[in-house]
């Protein structure tokens, strides 16, 4: 009987732990907690508002949908644009109007209807083998060129970073042309899409392929891990499409949860994240480019050089996400 009594007590403890979400802010984050904890601690110090971060790699939108009006989320942080749009599409977030936000974040990197704001940017680069190809002036379009047959590595096509890249190709070239390109790219792959962006650079170092598609910040992150330094040193970072459209940009971002019970404080947090100090820290911790115009990236990131970014406003990509996902299935990109 004692066991049963103990169990009952434990059960109540479990229940009680969810019910205390009154004055705290809850952040649902696709970004790992250790990346943002220091910034949120500063926020708490300045404002006295406590913040709970809950990290999940996948499925936050699905969870918020299911939680509906009972969702404890106040602010959502995403690590990419696709997931930001997912929140908007499923009507899980609401506009957050603030003069400070509009002045801190350039129009190109926020939604016209204020439902989301970008926080950092990164380029979808093409890494090339230092040894076998050297520095290249390459276009995304070239990746379908038969001369690279068996030479290209990438992660799953259905990963948000690649979905957005395909969406940008559709935006610029239309569906038919993009499908031909994607089929060509698929035919050029050295192996079935697998692993993360880092694993592709590793594969270049190993000689499995000569070109790897990957986000810019991975280069910086690999340089931080002694085991991965040789991988990073085996590749050149290339900014694609410099002579024409400019490189594809992806962003991490934030949005205000629809059912937040504490929208005023949530807005304060969002404004804080768009400010100089947080922008600098948020970009630096992940080796990205801040969206706020007058905030400089870290020295390392700056050393990769200036580049021309695709001028297509990022929210335009959203129209083509769905088509991109379908196309990736149609050409059986991952299979």
């Amino acid at each position: 009987m004692k066991i049963i009594k103990n169990l009952a007590v434990l059960g109540f403890v479990c229940f009680a732990s969810v019910a205390n979400a009154a004055d705290k802010l809850t952040v649902y984050s696709y970004r790992q907690a250790f990346l943002i904890d220091p910034i949120l601690n500063d926020f708490t110090k300045e404002t006295g508002i406590d913040v709970d971060v809950v990290f999940s790699k996948k499925g936050i939108a699905e969870r918020m949908m299911r939680e509906g009006r009972l969702s404890p989320a106040d602010v959502v942080l995403t690590s990419d644009f696709y997931r930001l749009m997912e929140l908007v599409d499923k009507e899980l977030v609401v506009p957050a109007s603030s003069e400070l936000l509009s002045s801190n974040i350039p129009a190109q990197y926020r939604s016209p209807d204020e439902t989301w704001y970008a926080l950092t940017m990164r380029v979808r680069n093409v890494y090339s083998s230092k040894e076998r190809l050297g520095k290249l002036n390459i276009n995304y379009e070239d990746l379908a060129d038969p001369k690279y047959k068996g030479k290209i590595c990438t992660r799953s096509g259905k990963h948000p970073y690649n979905i957005s890249l395909v969406a940008s190709m559709i935006a610029h070239h239309g569906e038919a042309e993009t499908k031909a390109w994607l089929t060509g790219l698929k035919a050029n792959l050295a192996r079935k899409p697998q692993g993360n962006d880092r694993a592709q650079v590793k594969a270049v170092k190993e000689g499995l392929c000569d070109l790897a598609i990957g986000n810019s910040y991975y280069l910086g992150k690999m340089l931080q891990d002694p085991k991965q330094v040789p991988w990073a040193e085996a590749v050149e970072i290339n900014f694609p499409n410099q002579d024409n459209l400019g490189s594809h940009i992806n962003v991490s971002g934030m949005a205000l949860a629809k059912h937040s019970r504490n929208k005023d404080n949530a807005l304060k947090l969002m404004e804080y994240l768009s400010g100089d100090k947080a922008q600098k820290a948020y970009a630096e911790v992940n080796m990205e480019y801040p969206v706020k115009a007058d905030v400089e990236p870290s020295a390392l990131v700056a050393s990769w050089g200036e580049f021309k970014a695709d001028s297509l406003p990022i929210y335009k990509l959203a129209e083509f996400h769905h088509a991109a996902v379908k196309m990736l299935d149609e050409v059986k990109f991952d299979l």
Binding site: L10, V18, A19, A33, E67, K192
Partner: protein
């Protein structure tokens, strides 16, 4: 059998059975709901590949496991050779290894950059992957091999028992007829053990269908990963439920197959003689081959990956040993402990009712409750979230109707949902374990107790429980390790921000840096070893 078990016992049994079968019903209902053409799109594009991958994977894993396990089982059961006493239990050890950990370790070894291919390249002077052929580890074939290596002990265990129980007089007969060991194996032992092998194969097939982590790491899309991706990627619960329904069809076919095989098994094994049969004594080259085979098997399926894991953990110890690691371990432990207590309690209750009740219909709850194990973790997660979300909203609606602030997501937003899911999935194991012990309590004891005027509850407390002790303990241990290892359900159901050892290890596997999470993986393996060794010992005592 008792002259009247109060109706409330039966009601309790039916209530438990109802709760346990709830997810199954929820999935079937959810699958009927239209899903805005997501399923149609999948059907037109990738679904056929998912289905054929799933079936091929099941086929290859079963074939591989049976080819690996049968010779080992026969050698250990029927022959004397050096190391036999050790292999008898040691060949069960791979069961404690999560398949995705083994998969990771072998990818590291056999990948293009791994030590083996690098050595080959420098030896033969090859420069690039185009210069030679080496099988791709991350493939359907690779996944099949990894799963076969960790799942073969199921077949080994059942086949070994079947071989041991084979009547020695029949074996003598084969010898008299002039069969050597080899012929005796082909013409007598193997055909007689077929039903046991079939049960083992069905178990392996079910485990394969439920595997999420290995195939996801190897980028081999199957129905399990499809359920996960459709749900979280497309955000379509209905399409995911439809995929789940397809998967259930596959799994229940397997169960039907298993039941069919088991029916025959009883028939065969009742003939078995009690006296142990004489062992073939292997000498010279034959003994060497037998020992070599078993050693190789143990090395490949357990020792090598485990040693590599130890090495990772050693190198990254400082990084891995931190407060969070302890917190995650605690999460795993306390949830496993709670679930094993609840599952065994349910097992005792259900088996007590079906043993003691005079009503034939009271056999049903324990049977129904065993179906929970058939639901793969991803499928189960969907089946649980649907009804519990309704419940959450109902509770909050009620509070608000009464003019109070609702308590929030008390069911789906807390560890309750995890505990609930694990109980449903693993009660079958507890039920089976208690059932086995019950079989060994003579019904005359019950009668004696009743004659002496014991009420049903006292019969359970004072007579059955003390006698069931061993089975209860074994059941708790088994449920405990399954809870430690279970990944997909934990991934999908955990409250946001909650992490246990399995989800923590998998996060590193999917980030391709298991080195940092190796310590946690070792804890999972070690916790799994204890019950295996204990169980094997109690099996041997029975023999």
């Amino acid at each position: 059998m008792i002259l009247g078990l109060p109706k409330r016992w039966s009601l309790a049994g039916y209530f438990v059975a109802l709760v346990i079968t709830l997810p199954l019903v929820a999935i079937l209902i959810q699958a009927m709901i239209p899903d805005e053409s997501v399923f149609g799109h999948l059907l037109d594009t990738v679904l056929p590949t998912y289905i054929s991958n799933t079936l091929l994977l099941m086929f290859w894993v079963c074939l591989g496991a049976i080819l690996i396990a049968t010779p080992a089982a026969w050698l250990v059961a029927k022959c004397h050779f050096p190391g036999r006493a050790i292999f008898q239990w040691a060949l069960l050890l791979p069961l404690a290894m999560p398949a995705y950990v083994v998969a990771y370790v072998y990818t590291d070894l056999l990948d293009y950059a791994g030590p083996i291919q690098s050595a080959l390249r420098s030896f033969f002077g090859w420069g690039s992957p185009q210069d030679y052929y080496f099988p791709e580890v991350r493939s359907l074939g690779g996944a099949s091999m990894m799963l076969a290596f960790v799942l073969f002990p199921y077949i080994y265990l059942l086949a070994r028992t079947a071989f041991m129980e084979q009547s020695s007089s029949l074996q003598h007969a084969t010898r008299v007829m002039g069969c050597g060991p080899w012929q005796s194996f082909w013409r007598f032992s193997l055909p007689m053990a077929r039903p046991a092998l079939a049960v083992g194969v069905a178990l392996v097939a079910m485990e394969t269908a439920a595997d999420f982590a290995t195939v996801s790491y190897f980028a081999v899309p199957t129905l399990t990963t499809a359920v996960y991706d459709t749900w979280l990627g497309y955000g379509s619960l209905s399409a995911a439920a439809k995929l789940s329904a397809i998967m259930l069809l596959v799994v229940f076919t397997m169960i039907g197959f298993e039941r069919f095989a088991r029916r025959k098994q009883q028939l065969f094994q009742k003939q078995s003689g009690a006296e142990p049969c004489e062992l073939y004594s292997l000498k010279g080259i034959k003994a060497l081959l037998a020992t070599g085979y078993c050693t190789l098997l143990l090395l490949v399926s357990f020792l090598l990956p485990f040693i590599i894991l130890l090495n990772y953990a050693w190198q990254y110890f400082d990084e891995s040993w931190h407060v969070e690691f302890l917190a995650f371990s605690f999460n795993s432990f306390y949830i496993a402990a709670i679930v094993s207590v609840i599952s065994v309690t349910l097992g005792i209750l259900l088996m007590f009712i079906s043993r003691v009740s005079p009503r034939k219909a009271d056999l049903l709850p324990s049977r129904l409750s065993s179906t929970g194990y058939a639901l793969p973790g991803t499928v189960l997660a969907i089946g649980i979230l649907v009804p519990l979300t309704y419940l959450d909203f109902a509770v909050n609606d009620l509070y608000e109707y009464l003019g109070q602030q609702g308590p929030g997501l008390i069911f789906t937003g807390s560890v309750f949902v995890l505990i609930f899911a694990f109980c449903i999935r693993f009660s079958a194991i507890a039920i089976g374990s208690v059932e086995n012990s019950y079989k060994r309590i003579s019904p005359s004891l019950d009668m004696a107790a009743i004659t002496m005027g014991l009420k049903p509850s006292s019969l359970l407390w004072r007579v059955h429980l003390p006698l069931l002790r061993k089975g209860i303990f074994a059941g708790m241990l088994l449920v405990f390790i399954e809870c430690m290892k279970e990944l997909p359900a934990a991934l999908l159901l955990r409250p946001v921000g909650f992490e246990n050892l399995a989800t923590y290890v998998f996060q590193f596997v999917s980030d391709e840096q298991l080195e940092h999470g190796a310590l946690a993986a070792i804890v999972i393996v070690l916790v799994g070893l204890v019950p295996l060794i204990y169980l094997n010992r109690s099996l041997e005592q029975q023999g």
